[in-house]
């Protein structure tokens, strides 16, 4: 087969790529531009930690603080903090009522706001149906009526100090442990008399007078008949089974109701001048350790554990 030999020898044409060059250059320029634009658009730290700008974390961190925390307040106001921490408001941070403290710490001339109106207190203590029943809530109109407060512009802080509203001691180790649920026999043994009123339902039977009928009967003979047991014996629930009873014997607690003030009317509880009362009645100098119940236990209820009639002179 002489086919190969029949093909005439043609001059070898080298492939011509010149037409590709402009396209190539345009492509390279475009890629370069795209890379440049990409570099320009994508922030430097993008992708450092993930699909976001790493420096954004710095931005988020770099923000001033307004709230400084109670420890900072205690550095200067330790005396107030000590009083505050042991009373009913002990768990409430300073800045919750007084607002953020940064500016005051930087410049002492900038004073902290002191909320003193009734509305300020009612922010937390207004009676609302959605508030937990265990939280102290006040219907102020009913409260005023009960105490004979005639002036409706009276603020809570005129009787209750915001730092120690109830003059109680929150140290629960000192408070008496009181069970919520007894053993069956605690109530049912010795109570077989059919005339004993039966409770409608068990959770509701644990009213104070059910177990302490003698004290309740004694209380009902006194002028404190309308005062609920838990008004003075504050019950702090600890768990499903028990709680602690804080018996408030601080004279200032009694004075919350009984101190004479211009805004109270005679329709309320008997009022006394304080601290002149002790001097006027017993001719003594006021003693913070003295409790009103030292003399007035008969006005409260029968207190078998206390020795009656201890004179101030002792």
């Amino acid at each position: 087969m002489g086919v190969d030999s029949e093909v005439p020898d043609k001059p070898l044409i080298r492939p011509d790529y010149r037409h590709v060059y402009p396209v190539g250059i345009i492509l390279i320029v475009l890629i370069g531009v795209a890379l440049g634009v990409r570099h320009w658009l994508i922030p430097e730290t993008f992708g450092q930690f993930g699909f976001y700008r790493g420096a954004a974390l710095e931005d988020a961190r770099d923000h001033g603080m307004s709230y400084v925390g109670g420890a900072a307040c205690a550095e200067c106001h330790g005396d107030i903090v000590a009083i505050h921490d042991k009373d009913a408001h002990g768990g409430v941070p300073c800045e919750t009522c007084h607002g953020p403290g940064t500016r005051h710490i930087r410049d002492n001339d900038i004073t902290m706001p002191v909320p003193a109106t009734r509305e300020d207190c009612l922010v937390c203590h207004r009676k609302l149906d959605a508030r937990p029943g265990s939280f102290p809530q006040v219907d102020w109109q009913e409260h005023f009526r009960f105490l004979g407060v005639a002036d409706t512009n009276t603020a809570c802080v005129q009787c209750h100090s915001a730092h120690e509203p109830l003059f109680m001691d929150r140290d629960m180790r000192k408070a008496r442990l009181h069970p919520l649920i007894h053993q069956c026999g605690d109530c049912h043994l010795g109570r077989t008399d059919p005339t004993t009123p039966r409770p409608d339902s068990h959770p509701q039977i644990f009213q104070c007078d059910y177990c302490h009928p003698a004290i309740a009967a004694s209380r009902d003979k006194t002028s404190h008949k309308k005062v609920a047991c838990s008004t003075c014996h504050m019950f702090v629930r600890e768990n499903s089974f028990s709680g602690r009873i804080v018996r408030n014997a601080d004279p200032r607690f009694c004075l919350l109701c009984h101190r004479r003030t211009p805004f109270k009317s005679p329709a309320g509880p008997p009022m006394i001048e304080w601290p002149g009362h002790i001097k006027d009645v017993a001719g003594e100098t006021p003693d913070a350790k003295r409790s009103c119940t030292d003399c007035h236990q008969d006005n409260i209820h029968d207190m078998p554990t206390k020795v009656k009639g201890v004179p101030h002179a002792l």
Binding site: L57, D59, S66, G69, R131
Partner: protein, 249 residues
């Protein structure tokens, strides 16, 4: 011949063992290095949040604190409190404080059989819908598990506001970018508590490190019953609601 073959087998075994241990070393070394890095920095935190709903009294101290701490614009909220009231016929009434007075009105629902407050905030989801829809990578999850917005990057398109199943985002009326709860990132990175946690008078809000088994939040989640909001959305929220009623959505 027999001897040669034994030697070569021994040699082969030696090489095999050497090769295997070499491979093992190579595979273990990076993780060893990682471990040592982790240990030197201490355990890496994973921050989360819990809300003890049964304790909330609806005083709105958290909302006031959040506003003051983060300069939240008027009429917008990074955290808020909802009041749920369920009537005898099963109807659920929900309201919230929508002005800046921060006080719930004393309007009683006469036949309400149960009522309670529920604080709400960004759930800082593990698989956050907001991060997934962001077209520019402005919403992201920090290494500590906090979902944040890069406000320099955000273009204010509002996709994330629509995507969030919990309604926790808004467009900032002045900056025109998405804004939301940062868990007070600037505070927690300095070892402080978020402002809402710091100011709560009832200890309703619990913040802490899930990687620390002794932290208050870890203990609360071990010991208490809790619920997540809208778990069916698959966002894996890191905001845990203790003792929450089923009515809450």
């Amino acid at each position: 011949m027999h001897c040669d073959s034994a030697m070569s087998r021994r040699e082969m075994l030696r090489r095999l063992v050497a090769g295997a241990s070499g491979c093992l070393l190579v595979s273990v070394l990076p993780s060893l290095a990682g471990e040592s890095e982790k240990n030197s920095k201490g355990r890496k935190p994973l921050y989360a949040y819990a809300v003890d709903t049964a304790r909330c009294i609806g005083c709105c101290a958290c909302m006031r604190a959040c506003k003051a701490e983060n300069e939240v614009p008027d009429g917008r909220f990074r955290t808020w409190i909802e009041r749920y009231r369920v009537r005898a016929n099963g109807e659920v009434l929900v309201d919230a404080v929508i002005d800046d007075g921060f006080v719930f009105k004393d309007d009683k629902v006469p036949d309400a059989v149960k009522a309670f407050f529920v604080p709400k905030l960004c759930n800082h989801c593990e698989k956050s819908a907001c991060s997934q829809v962001c077209p520019v990578g402005a919403t992201y999850t920090s290494p500590e598990g906090v979902v944040l917005v890069d406000q320099k990057r955000c273009i204010g398109c509002g996709y994330c506001v629509q995507a969030c199943p919990y309604g926790t985002r808004y467009i900032h009326p002045v900056k025109h970018v998405a804004d939301k709860c940062t868990l007070c990132y600037h505070r927690i990175m300095r070892g402080m508590q978020p402002a809402c946690v710091q100011s709560c008078p009832r200890g309703v809000r619990i913040f802490g490190d899930l990687n620390d088994p002794e932290s208050q939040i870890s203990m609360a989640l071990k010991q208490r019953r809790f619920r997540l909001l809208k778990p069916e959305m698959g966002t894996h929220p890191r905001c845990y609601y203790l003792d929450l009623d089923n009515e809450v959505i």
